[in-house]
Every structure is written in C-alpha cells, then in structure tokens.
C-alpha cells in the first residue's frame, strides 16, 4: 500500500520517517529525532545562571563539558508539575551558529520509548490554537490511539541563540 492511499486531505509534513525518542512533558507526549539525541541522564545538580529567562534552568557538568539545560515546559508555557523521580535530562546535539554541535540538555518529565515512524504515520501540524506555538513543531504522529507531537529542535534551539542578537 502506498503512503498516499491512506490519507485523503493530508498536507505534507516537514518530519521525516525514522526513529524518534518520545517523552512526556506536562501530560503530552512529544517526539524528537533519535539522531539528535546523544544520551539521557538522571537529573543532576543544575547551577543556575543569573539573568536568564525562566526556561533556561542553568548549566550542568556533563563529564567535564559545561552544557546549558532548557526547561521545555517553561519554554512552551505549560504548567510546571512537581519534579518526579522519572524526570530526566535528554542531551541533544543540534547545529547552532556557534558550532556544528553544541550540546544542550532538555529537562523532561519522563522518557517513554523509541518509536519507528513510517511516512504514513506522520501528518502536518494541525491548528493547536494558542496552546502551542506551532512554528516549533515538525508535525504530529499517530501511534495506535495516541498522538505524539514532533518537535523541531533545530528551530527551537536555533532561536535560543539568535533571538538575542
């Protein structure tokens, strides 16, 4: 069965088929391309940095490297639930203007699993209203009965470093 056959009014999505790491953030399930994920670590002591916006939590020591940690919940304006013992820091590596691979930590509520998405699973971002800024989404993926929101990390992190210049 060809991909085109299964959807009637589907707009193309920027998301590519492949493996995605899914995680939970404020009750919703999100996915990021597995190739951008370097590792997943337990929450460690975060050193707060003065004069940062709320979504920049601070910096951590990742085996000798200093990397910033972002709180995506604050970034997307979601309510902040109490930290639980499933919280993790997902370390991602994304191209920025500074270097081809600056590491960044993303604070998430829980890491789910790695899923394999085929082209037919991915759809363009529907209108979310004001709940989410859809510019930062690659698309959505339907996996069984659940919906995973696919994040455009290049864009999210790219804006972090460019917004201020």
């Amino acid at each position: 069965m060809k991909a085109e056959d299964c959807s009637i009014a589907r707009t193309p999505s920027a998301a590519r088929p492949g493996k995605y790491l899914t995680f939970v953030l404020g009750g919703e399930s999100y996915g990021i391309g597995i190739l951008q994920v370097r590792e997943i670590i337990r929450p460690t002591a975060i050193t707060p940095v003065p004069q940062m916006p709320p979504h920049i939590q601070g910096v951590i020591n990742l085996r000798g490297k200093i990397i910033p940690v972002l709180d995506l919940r604050a970034r997307f304006g979601l309510a902040a639930p109490a930290a639980n013992d499933r919280s993790c820091i997902v370390v991602v590596q994304v191209k920025t203007t500074e270097s081809p691979g600056a590491l960044t930590g993303l604070l998430v509520d829980a890491v789910d699993e790695v899923i394999n998405l085929a082209d037919k699973d991915i759809e363009a971002t529907p209108e979310f209203g004001r709940r989410l800024d859809t510019r930062h989404l690659l698309g959505v993926a339907k996996v069984g009965a659940t919906v995973k929101i696919l994040l455009d990390l290049d864009r999210i992190l790219g804006e972090e470093t460019q917004a201020q210049v």
Binding site: P50, Q51, I56, V59, N61, I66, T97, Q164, V165
Partner: protein, 565 residues
C-alpha cells in the same frame, strides 16, 4: 653558480591537489625561517660580523631555497638564492653588510613572506587558486649589484653547505597540531577533576585501607605532574613577540627619521602560546605610540640634554602566578594637563574633579581618545589604546600606565600565564558559588556599617582607607538572595577594573582554586555578559566565573547586550 636576473617574471602556479601536504609543511617551515632571518638580520645590523648569526641566516635562506626548488617555486627559489649568495659572501668575509645591504635583505625577506602568505591563503582556501605573481626581477638585479659593488667577487660562486647543517640546528622537537595539544590539556583537566572527585568520595571503609589510600595519593601526585607537564607543552618563550617588536621599531624609527633602540629583557619568559599570539597586536600598538609620540626627534632630545637615540625597554617576567610585560620609553612622557582637558571636553571627567595621576593617565584607554595634535599614518586616530585595553582585558589581564614629564612612559601589563586555567577565588552568595579571577582581586575585608554610604541615585560607596569605591551587591546583581542581611555581615572583595576599583559584596570567601576555564556557550553568553565562563569545582558541580569588567551598576535582565567578538 651565478644568479642571472630573470627579465621575464615567472608566476608561481600551485598544484594544490598533489602538493598540498608538502606545501603546507613548506609554509610552516618557511615562516620559522623568515622569523629567524628577520631576527638575525636585525642582530647583524648591530654586529655586522657576528659569524654565528651570519651562518644561521645563511642556512635559513639556503633551506628556503632548497624547498622552493623541490616544489618548483621558481621565483622564490631565485630570490632566496640571490640572498643566500649575498649572505655567503658576507659569511666568507668577502663583503660587509652595510645598512643598505641589510635593508635589501630585509626587503627580500618581506617579498619572500608575501609569497608564503599568498601560498598559505590559497592552501587554506582564503584566496582562490590563481598564479602568484610578485615581481622579483628588480630585486635580483639589486642583489647582484650589491654583490658586485665589492671588488673581490671573483670567487663568489660557493658551493652551499649540505642541508644537514640546517637540519641539525632544529634539535629534537616534534611539531604537533595545536588542536591536539588543546584537547590533551582539556582531557588532563578532566582527569584532575575526576581524581579529586574520587578522593572526596572516599567512604570510611576505603579510607581504612592504607594500601588504597597510598595508591590514591600516588595517583594524585601523578595527575598533578601530568597537568603541569601538559600545560608546559603550550608554553613558549615570549621571544617571538619581542622579535616582531624589534622589527617594528626598526621600520617605524626609519620612517619617522628617529633614532630608537629597543632593549629586551626576559625573552626566555614562557607563557601560553595562545597568549603570545594575542599579545602581539596590543604590544605593536603601544610600540607605535612610543615611537610616534613618545620618543622625540634626535634634535629635540639633544636640546633637552638627552642622548640622541631614544631607548625602548621591553621586559617580561613572572610574578605571582602571572606574567608582567613592561614597555618603557624614555621619551617626553604623557601630557597630564592635555589628557585631563581632553577628558573634561569629552565628558569623561567632571571639571574641577580631583583625580590621581593614575586615574588621569587611564583616560587614554577610553574609546576614541587621542591627544595627538596631528594624525599620522601610524597613530593618533584615537583608536589604539582602547583596543589595547580591551584586548588585554579579554585575556583576563590588566594594563597600568605611569609617566613622568620628560622622562618617559611606562606601560605595565599583568596577564595570566595561560588562558586555559585561572587561579580563582571562590566566593559564596546565598547558596551559590561564583569564581573571581584572583589576578584581579586586590583585597577583601569585612566592612563596618559606617564604611558604607549611599549616594543619591548613584548606588553605594564603601570607604576604603579614605578612598571611596563603588560597591556592588553581587546577590542583587545576580538575583540571588544573600545570606548576609547587611553588608557588615558579608565580605567585600575589592577588584581591579581598569584603573578603578570596585567592591563586590558577597556572603563569604570559600577557597582559592586553580580551575580549568570552560566555555559556557553562546546561549548563556548572549544573555549575560558578566559570565566570563564556567569551571568545574572540586565537588563536580559547575561554578560560574565572573567577568568583573562587565559587572555594572544595575542588573539588566534579558536585555540585548552587544556580544563581544
């Protein structure tokens, strides 16, 4: 072999695909030879007959020529050959190197450098591949003329020494890519941290095992030694920069028609390779100023009863974990009145303000500040000294100036030994720890309540032995609630920023620590310019390094700040 001047100039066409690697090595080697030649020739200017220097310069030209011949870089080969022959005659005492010939050799060396620069540009892709064309025919003729002007040229054609002689002078050294060296230093830094983490994590059971404790102590010793050695790999003598300055003084003095002598001290002083490179520009600025404005013309000097030739001293020495570079001229000195007048005119100082000499002299480091009456092609546009100050501050150092009318000016730069590691003072505010570079810390003390005064709308001042210095509450700056309720419960750390002092109010001093400086990344730096970097503290957590120069009166959260460099 005689060097026939080529009337038709041969352009150099590089074969980057097949000769790329060889050319790269040739460029690196050539730069060393060019430096050696320059330094040697300047020495020869003073001691024309010095056999060792003559040999060394001759060998450099010879190796230069050999490589060019091998790579088929015809014009380089010919020019180097001509200069080599000239040196050879001097070496065999068949002619003497007078001023004219010295100038010729220097210009020849500059032409060779142009070739090398262009080859380098094409190798690195900075310039598109194209035939390199620099006229050398005139030069070859001049060189020939310089050689034939001496009567006894008959036996000019000498068989050059075998290249082995040149190779042997290189000694047992290995060329290593600097990135490899940097990553080695980084990794050793990690090792030191890992080692101290293990040592701190000792539980009572392990601590009771004497063998284990001994092994751990041994490991600590080895790690420290390893760190010392790996850091010393990056250390190079400051001589290279001083040599550049010698050339600059030579050229500048000639152009200004002044007599200037450069005396250097402490050429052997070692410092970080990166620092050496960064130091060259600011030093050059200051040397230019010294020759252009500082040293008077020979007539003016004679009229003031000074020796006709001006002297510039360039000194380097180690001091207290840092390095001190001093540049002193015996010229006319800074004009205090004019600087003050200019500062008032520019609104930098209030009219009638009582300022110390040091404070007045420091105005020359303000942006766009120049008291030069006329702009020359060398200096006087007022863009020099503020750049110098910023460069030095970027290297986490500071620059001081003192001057006496008619006796000269002294610039003193205090720099850290390396850019990779700083000696930091760890201070606490609330639950947070921050690192202040110890080099910038003047003193620290617990203030009494009556030492603090508030200036309406202009912040707080602390009276330090009669001197009022601005006080910044670090907790307030950084949005951290301090543990100390009043300044009298905290500690004031006095730091040097430019000529001014600042008092930083913190809760307490934790300890001093040598830390490996890490980049905090663009994400953080763009939003807070007062964070110079970060370091990993003994417990593995991150401590932020404060850039005291960027700390200002009021916190400005989330405002777009210009990003330096």
């Amino acid at each position: 072999m005689s060097s026939t001047p080529q009337d038709a100039e041969t352009p150099i066409v590089l074969n980057l695909a097949s000769d790329g690697e060889l050319l790269k090595e040739y460029v690196i080697e050539s730069r060393e030879h060019l430096n050696n030649i320059e330094q040697g020739v300047l020495l020869l200017e003073e001691h024309p007959g010095d056999a060792d220097t003559l040999h060394s310069v001759f060998r450099s030209f010879h190796t230069f020529k050999g490589g060019a011949g091998f790579l088929n870089l015809v014009p380089i080969n010919q020019l180097a050959h001509g200069l080599e022959s000239l040196l050879d005659l001097a070496r065999l005492r068949k002619l003497t190197l007078d001023g004219e010939r010295i100038g010729l050799i220097l210009r020849g060396r500059d032409t060779l450098k142009q070739f090398i620069d262009q080859i380098d540009a094409q190798l690195t892709g900075a310039a598109p591949p194209a035939p390199i064309m620099i006229p050398t025919g005139d030069f070859s003729r001049q060189i020939l003329a310089a050689m034939t002007s001496e009567p006894n040229l008959a036996s000019a054609s000498q068989t050059p020494e075998p290249t082995a002689a040149a190779a042997s002078s290189a000694g047992a050294t290995v060329k290593v890519e600097t990135t490899k060296l940097d990553s080695l230093v980084d990794m050793v830094g990690e090792l030191v941290i890992a080692q101290s983490l293990v040592a701190q994590d000792l539980n009572s059971q392990a601590a009771a095992n004497p063998q284990f404790v001994r092994n751990l102590a041994q490991m600590a010793r080895v790690t420290r030694e390893l760190q010392r050695v790996s850091l010393s790999l990056r250390m190079v003598p400051i001589r290279g920069v001083f040599q550049k300055m010698a050339r600059a003084v030579h050229d500048l003095a000639a152009r200004q028609d002044k007599q200037v002598q450069l005396l250097t001290e402490g050429d052997e002083t070692e410092l970080d390779r990166n620092l050496v490179e960064e130091l060259a520009d600011p030093l050059l600025h200051m040397i230019r100023n010294a020759v252009d404005h500082g040293i008077e013309s020979a007539e003016a000097r004679a009229a003031h009863g000074k020796p006709r030739a001006g002297v510039i001293h360039l000194r380097a020495s180690h001091k207290g974990g840092g390095i001190v570079v001093e540049l002193q001229d015996d010229g006319q000195g800074l004009d205090k009145e004019r600087i003050l007048a200019k500062a008032i005119e520019k609104g930098l100082a209030a009219p009638g303000a009582k300022l110390s000499d040091e404070e007045i002299f420091h105005f020359i480091f303000a942006a766009g500040f120049s008291t030069a009456r006329e702009v020359t092609d060398l200096s006087g546009r007022g863009v020099g000294m503020d750049v110098v100050r910023r460069n030095i501050e970027r290297l986490r150092g500071r620059v001081e100036v003192s001057s006496a009318p008619g006796q000269g000016t002294l610039f003193k730069m205090v720099l850290p030994l390396t850019l990779a590691i700083i000696d930091g003072l760890v201070v606490t505010v609330g639950g947070e720890r921050y690192i202040i570079p110890t080099l910038l810390v003047r003193e620290s003390f617990r203030p009494r309540a009556e030492m603090i005064s508030t200036l309406q709308g202009r912040g707080e001042l602390v009276n330090l032995r009669g001197r009022l210095i601005p006080m910044l509450r670090l907790g307030e700056q950084f949005g951290v609630k301090p543990a100390a309720g009043t300044p009298a419960e905290g500690i004031i750390v006095v730091v040097q920023t430019g000529a001014a002092l600042k008092g930083l109010l913190v809760d307490g001093l934790s300890h001093r620590q040598e830390v490996v400086i890490k980049n905090v990344g663009e994400l953080i730096r763009q939003r807070n310019a007062s964070i110079a970097g970060a370091a990993i503290l003994g417990d593995g957590r991150v401590g932020l390094i404060i850039d005291v120069n960027a700390l200002d009166g009021l916190p400005v959260p989330h405002l777009a700040k210009p990003v330096n460099n």
